[in-house]
């Protein structure tokens, strides 16, 4: 029921916002949506799959570079779009195989994923010379690849997406990803994935190959991040190696944590909040931007450790609970006792 409601609201926003907002704000919301897709990918594999990936930016970057190189070589953008999802997915599959079938766990996995993204960064960063090209697309090193052709209607290379078109596509992708993951989590496969996160041994004893399920979720996360990368390349018409950098990876983790680990909405909220904040800080000169962002993060961790969404959820629940209790104050204690566990259960499945 809630999925349908989310879907409805999403569609309403999709249709309504372009009419209300001007081009500039649409473009800004587009980048928020693109980054949200990226945030959701990490939120899924971490919050539900239990995989702390320090290098989600690697798949993001691979997606954007793949799209850029492919579209500059092929012209029509349908194949590049699909490649931008496939290549990171394959890469994630190989990397995931090395990690999960090698029985690496949390911190060590974090290090390997971090290392991989740093390797990619170092490699691509040093391709500035003119000899580094794939087909007709120069890799460009630190400069990145500018002037990337935008997505076009499949089959019509000249019919490119307008800002509104890109907004529509990105928003639709976000909705599809969100709902798709939502449905996956409540399906049988999803339940095994979550169970493997909670207690891998128990899952193994029950006869499921936890490694395969982890590999599946990691690959899916990589594919979604690749999709975000492709949309990013379209939004800015450029891509550069900083996408693979430590700063970008850390940003994604921060969005998820600030928004709320263990939820799908959380990363979206966290991403939008931090992105917006970063832009605001850039438009004033009084405070150094690092100082402000750092202070906010530290305060946040100390005071709102579970993230925005679960905290808001608890706040709503607490308020709701108080209102109910006030109404039912004259009724039997059993009613109150019954309400509390029901609400706790509902909250846990958010």
């Amino acid at each position: 029921m809630s999925a349908a409601l989310s879907f409805g609201i999403g569609i309403a926003l999709l249709l309504g916002l372009p009419g209300v907002l001007d081009d500039y704000t649409l473009i800004q919301i587009t980048i928020y949506a693109v980054m949200s897709i990226l945030g959701v990918s990490l939120g899924f594999i971490w919050g539900f799959g239990g995989i702390l990936c320090f290098g989600q930016a690697a798949f993001f970057g691979l997606g954007s570079y793949t799209y850029a190189i492919a579209v500059m070589n092929m012209g029509d953008s349908t194949m590049p779009f699909l490649l931008a999802i496939a290549v990171p997915a394959v890469f994630a599959m190989i990397l995931g195989y090395v990690i999960f079938y090698g029985r690496l766990s949390d911190v060590y996995m974090g290090v390997i994923t971090l290392t991989v993204t740093l390797i990619l960064f170092n490699l691509i960063n040093s391709t500035a010379g003119p000899e580094w090209k794939i087909g007709s697309a120069a890799l460009g090193g630190f400069n990145g690849i500018p002037a990337i052709p935008t997505l076009n209607v499949p089959g019509q290379p000249d019919n490119v997406l307008s800002p509104k078109g890109l907004f529509d596509l990105t928003f639709v992708c976000l909705l599809v990803v969100y709902l798709g993951l939502r449905m996956l989590i409540s399906s049988k496969i999803g339940r095994v994935i979550v169970a493997a996160k909670e207690n891998e041994q128990r899952v193994l004893l029950l006869g499921y190959d936890a490694r395969a399920y982890k590999l599946f979720s990691f690959t899916l996360g990589g594919a979604i991040a690749g999709l975000a990368g492709c949309l990013f390349a379209n939004w800015g018409a450029f891509t550069s190696p900083t996408i693979f950098g430590l700063a970008q990876s850390a940003q994604i983790i921060i969005w998820v944590i600030v928004g709320g680990l263990g939820t799908l909405v959380g990363p979206i909220v966290g991403c939008v909040a931090i992105q917006w904040l970063t832009m605001q800080i850039g438009t004033q000169q009084i405070f150094n931007s690092n100082l402000v962002l750092g202070a906010i993060l530290v305060v946040f961790v100390l005071l709102v450790p579970r993230g925005i969404v679960p905290s808001l959820g608890s706040l709503a629940e607490w308020t709701y609970g108080r209102l109910r209790r006030r109404k039912a104050s004259s009724s039997m204690p059993a009613a109150r006792a019954g309400a509390a566990p029901a609400m706790a259960a509902a909250e846990e499945s958010t």
Partner: protein, 408 residues
Amino acid sequence: MDRRSFIKASGVTLAGAVAPMFPLAAMAADQLLVGSILDLSGGLDIYGKPMADCMTLAVEEQNAAGGLLGKQLKLASYDPQSSMQLYAQFAQQAALKDKAAVVMGGITSASREVIRPVLDRYKTLYFYNTQYEGGVCDRNTFCTGVTPGQTVAKLIPFAMNKWGKKVYVLAADYNYGQITSQWVKKFVLENGGSVASIDFFPLDVTNFGSTISKIEAAKPDMIVSALVGGSHISFYRQWAAAGMTKKIPLASTTFAGGNEHIVLSPAECDGFLVSYNYFQNLDTPENKAFKARFYKRFGNDYPNITELAMGTYQGFKLWAEGVKKAGSVDRMKVIKALESGISIDAPSGKVTLDPATHHCVLNVSIAEVKNKQLDIIKTFPQQKPSDTSAVCNLIKNPRDNQQYVIKA
């Protein structure tokens, strides 16, 4: 209503509602907005801060003189924090939301190539005021910084004359370093010299130990450095620590742009040769007057007014002249006015906009680092942007829009 969807809805609506409310450019009708996109934090802030200060001074001076076209100027300053994504976003904001009359900014060539297409697309005038590798050919863009055809062309023959013919090149690994090193090679070969090697280093490399050994093995007569940024300062440190500063001399196209000559000790960099348009020791009346105003505004102990900072100041002045001549801030009118041959008497000497290339004809000087100062040795007046004119002619091809790169 379900809690989850309530939160999602509120989240997205919040973003959508809040996004338009950027507090920045609430522009009154009698104001002209000037956008400035310069890094004030992150690795590039050593370049950005002096540039932003000169921008502030230029706008304040113009306002004190009565503004432009009877209107006051408002400076909208954005700090992209050395992030490419923010460069794109701020360019979009300046063009679409704040509707700036002109945008001045971008430090690295990489950031310029992110801003340029955005401003082209949304039809906002763009001034790129940083010295760079040359070749940008775009009617919407004016590049007021020096290019290799002006500086390197003079620096290399001078240095080779002084030190010898065998040259070892170190460059930052991105388009500026790549292209500039090709120009260095061209001028070295033209002067009968040879290039021992061209080594590239990404911007975050700090360990130059093996490079130094390689250089020693190659035994060059001189080094040409196009290294960029805070991390590359380590090279000069390690070079001096190995005792090499006294043994092999060095010329650079980028040194001192980030006040490296103040950060390093005299023992580490005395004797380096650099070539730029502006040095704060230039002995002209305009420069003296400018410095008086600058120090009054920013304090006497300001470390150094860099070439990039003066480029920003001069770029602004050129634009102001163009607006005055056009009598309006309409983009095409200002472009046509700027293409009619505008000149200003700047602190660095006379600066003229070349109509065919949208680059500048200006004075170029060679200076030597001495005791944390830059001592001017020789000045070459009114150098034309020969590298860009060889390939770009916007009068003949007004629709041209690309950056030309020298063939290796």
